[in-house]
């Protein structure tokens, strides 16, 4: 199991979802990924994508200007 980070700052939805999806495709079951975004829409969208595709949403939070989502890849 490995940990990865994805910088999706400056990208507008649905691009953070697409980047997450494309990266997760190459990861293994149990790997964790932290996605950093600036578009507030990513909080809902990346979380929804996670639920739909059966990955584990470890944490999703928004502070003043950033959204941070932690995912565990499930297969």
């Amino acid at each position: 199991m490995a940990h990865f980070e994805l910088d999706a700052t400056g990208l507008l939805c649905p691009m953070p979802v697409i980047r997450t999806q494309d990266l997760v495709e190459d990861l293994s079951c149990g790997d964790t990924l932290e996605v950093l975004c600036t578009d507030p829409g990513a909080l809902n969208d990346v979380s929804a994508w996670c639920r739909i595709n059966g990955h584990k949403l470890i944490d999703a939070k928004q502070d003043e200007d950033r959204v941070i989502i932690k995912i565990q890849v499930m297969r």
Binding site: G10, L12, C13, P14, M15, V17, I18, Q21, T38, D39, P40, G41, N44, D45, A48, W49, R51, I52, N53, G54
Partner: protein
């Protein structure tokens, strides 16, 4: 044991694709969704920009639909490939810059590539005969099936009974009599079916889910192309057409004037790529300058910027003009009176 039949459904996020997918799922077919991001999609990035839109659900409707249906959704970035569809549509444009016929053909052809790569059996769309003047007519729907290459592997469950039998019907993967015979522009059959399934709170955007069907957006796109002398565009261009007041005093430059705080926040992210102007002596909007302005043009841009500030009636307004990677300079100008702004400048 018989093989599980699999279909991919084009999910726009609207009601029709939601229903079409569910109709096929009910027949025991494994369905996954596919959504194509062209850059012109109405949602996502536009949610949080303007105050008037803040009451709308802050969600990606395609993801919401997939979650309602309990299916996987694959969102595909087609921004680059889509340029050729928009720039050279074989079947022309609709009322605005919407190449609906070619767009649908393109998306079905992309879905066909996807099902071949992933060993799925057929494609589902939520199209309804007679619902749209360009892409959803009885005479154009077979053309889309043919030109996309999907042919009989394209099933439109909501109006299948008005169309020739497709492969899924011929093979017995789905029962034709359990498909529908919807037609025309009325939404009542869809709403009744949605109620039957218990779907509520689905998206029903008035102008569809594409900015290219919007008259004002299309005018700005055409202006951009005319000013540049070609039809190329980048992602930044099409994003910025969605925000601000666009003012073009000359072919070589235009101003994008933020209309409210949400647009200011959105446009801040572009200050490292565009010349930006901001009043310093009075409160006022952020302005981005697109194009190749000379010093005289920037003076004019500053006067226009001042005209949209609280100092519009003042004798003199101070502004900061920032060039990416070149620092900023202070200028003082007399705000341009509204009467001196030709109507033709407003895009």
């Amino acid at each position: 044991m018989s093989r599980q039949i699999k279909a991919v459904s084009l999910i726009s996020g609207g009601l029709d694709s939601l229903l079409a997918t569910r109709v096929v799922m009910d027949q025991g077919v494994h369905v996954e969704g596919i959504n194509f991001f062209t850059g012109f999609c109405v949602e996502g990035h536009t949610h949080a920009i303007r105050k008037k839109d803040r009451a709308k659900p802050k969600r990606n409707n395609a993801l919401w639909v997939a979650e309602q249906l309990g299916i996987k959704l694959h969102i595909i970035d087609v921004i680059e490939d889509y340029k050729d569809v928009l720039i050279n549509p074989k079947h022309g444009y609709g009322a605005n810059m919407n190449p609906c016929h070619d767009c649908k053909t393109f998306m079905v052809s992309k879905a066909l590539e996807w099902i071949e790569r992933n060993e799925f059996d057929f494609i589902i769309t939520g199209e309804v005969v007679g619902q749209r003047p360009m892409s959803q007519r009885k005479d154009t729907m077979p053309v889309i099936a043919r030109e996309s290459g999907a042919g009989e592997r394209l099933l439109r469950p909501l109006c299948a009974q008005h169309l020739p039998e497709t492969l899924p019907e011929q093979m017995g993967w789905v029962m034709r009599e359990q498909l529908h015979d919807f037609h025309g522009r009325s939404r009542k059959p869809q709403m009744a079916l949605a109620q039957q399934y218990g779907f509520e709170d689905y998206a029903q955007p008035a102008g569809g889910c594409c900015f290219l069907t919007d008259e004002n957006y299309s005018k700005k796109l055409v202006d951009l192309w005319d000013a540049r002398g070609n039809r190329e565009y980048e992602m930044d261009d099409i994003m910025l057409l969605k925000v601000g007041r666009h003012i073009r005093p000359s072919r070589n430059f235009k101003l994008i004037v933020a209309r409210e705080e949400g647009e200011v926040n959105f446009m801040q992210g572009y200050r490292n790529r565009f010349i930006s102007i901001k009043t310093t002596s009075h409160s006022g909007p952020l302005v981005l300058v697109d194009g190749q302005p000379n010093e005289q043009d920037l003076q004019l841009a500053a006067r226009i910027t001042a005209r949209y500030s609280k100092g519009k009636l003042a004798d003199e307004v101070e502004l900061e003009v920032c060039r990416p990677d070149q620092g900023s300079m202070q200028v003082k100008v007399k705000p341009m009176p509204a009467a001196e702004m030709p109507e033709a400048w407003y895009v």
